[in-house]
Symmetry: C2
Subunit: 226 residues, 2 copies
DNA sequence: CCGCGACATATTGAATGCATGAATGAAGTT
DNA sequence: AACTTCATTCATGCATTCAATATGTCGCGG
């Protein structure tokens, strides 16, 4: 790996953000982080710079860095864009997928099935990511693949919430099956449409979730366990 | 703006990259840049970190930062994604645009017309950007708008090449007219399709351009894709 | 009693210094 | 003569230090 310190730190902090260890809106104190990781402030700053450029943290001059809080509306917008990009990846994959792509998609799809049937949400969550990445790769557009992976990462925490919803995992797997069929049959339009719906529905579900949470708990500022 | 030093530097270097002052593949020496801008190496490093996170420069451990050279293939992929995002923005704009959006679109469109008729490519280039940004804004999706602006910036140098092509400016303006009509009439599908083609044709033209350049000059240093 | 202003403190932003690793050149060996 | 190896040099990466600014508190005046 030969990772440099600041790259390791960047991944570490990014991971802390998407896993919710650092809550949205939380202030990221440089000295504190430096002490925690046992390094100087310099590499911490460099890591925060990169995260700031990506859009995960917000740095205001002289006022430090805070974990960005997208807000429900912005998150919904991100799902919309994600849907558009995934649908594009699906269309390209339908037209361009090779034999290896086909094998990778089928394999990850099978893994998803196993997780779905045994009801292991964590496992499904992981395999779902592998599945979607297989589609990105099959699009044979390196840039699109990168964009999709980046957005997928950013949406990870919000996606995770949804698998807890009743039956979502089974439904999701059912959608996967149709998507696989369309892609492997080379039906670009169908793959595009199915993937768009597959992602868009997550945005809708997220909205529903937010609406419910808002109704239920008004002062619940932080992370809702459930 | 009262930007901080490193933010100013970031914009400065980014600008230098998209204007071609820093050639693709060129090594960005920290000390050199520091001397040039009259600052220490620290803010330079921070600026390079951000650019690295955006994808404009590539930093390899212990080997410094170089301007990233996407290569023809990658650039074409970027145009493809841009087309998809713009088409999405157009569809949303058709459905959501307000009276102010309508005014902004018409105004920038008129500016484009003036530039096109007087044949001023530089002016058209600028007004074209304003026009497209008006559409992004009319989509009323803050996240989509940001993504579009960022990608537009990155594609700026390659887009600029194309306006020199014979008659491209007039053709481009004609496409704009149809796009405006569709958006203002609320025809989301038409707007989407027209915008996709409008951008996609730029990717195609870029490919043609590259093909020509390759044929003409073989030992041309930098840009090698694939 | 409330509001405004000045000062102290703490945190960020920039500069400098030092160590490590990579690139380059020369010298020796095959 | 060419290839390999070692030493030297220089850029990068991190730590430390110095400076500037925002925030919070205390005091004074209305």
């Amino acid at each position: 790996m030969a990772q440099n310190t600041f790259q390791t730190l960047r991944d570490e902090i990014e991971n802390g953000i998407v896993t919710g260890e650092f809550a949205p809106g939380e202030r990221l104190d440089e000295a504190q982080l430096a002490a925690r990781f046992g390094v100087s402030r310099t590499p911490i700053r460099e890591a925060l710079m990169q995260l700031s450029a990506i859009g995960l943290v917000e740095t205001r001059p002289r006022r430090g860095a805070t974990v960005v809080d997208p807000g429900p509306n912005r998150i919904f917008e991100m799902f919309e864009v994600m849907a558009q990009l995934e649908s594009m990846a699906g269309a390209l994959a339908a037209r361009r997928h090779t034999e290896e792509d086909r094998a990778a998609i089928l394999k990850s799809h099978a893994e998803c099935e196993r997780s779905a049937q045994s009801g292991e949400t964590d496992s499904y969550y992981y395999n779902n990511e592998v599945f979607h990445r297989a589609i990105y790769a099959a699009s044979h557009s390196g840039f699109l693949e990168e964009q999709c992976i980046a957005l997928h990462r950013r949406l990870r925490p919000y996606r995770r919430l949804q698998l807890r919803v009743r039956n979502r995992m089974k439904v999701s797997f059912g959608e996967h099956a149709a998507i696989v069929e369309a892609i492997l049959a080379g039906q670009a339009d169908a793959a595009s449409r199915l993937l768009r719906d597959h992602i868009a529905v997550q945005g809708d579900r997220f909205s529903d979730l937010i609406a419910n949470l808002d109704r239920r708990s008004k002062p619940g500022a932080g992370s809702q366990g459930r």
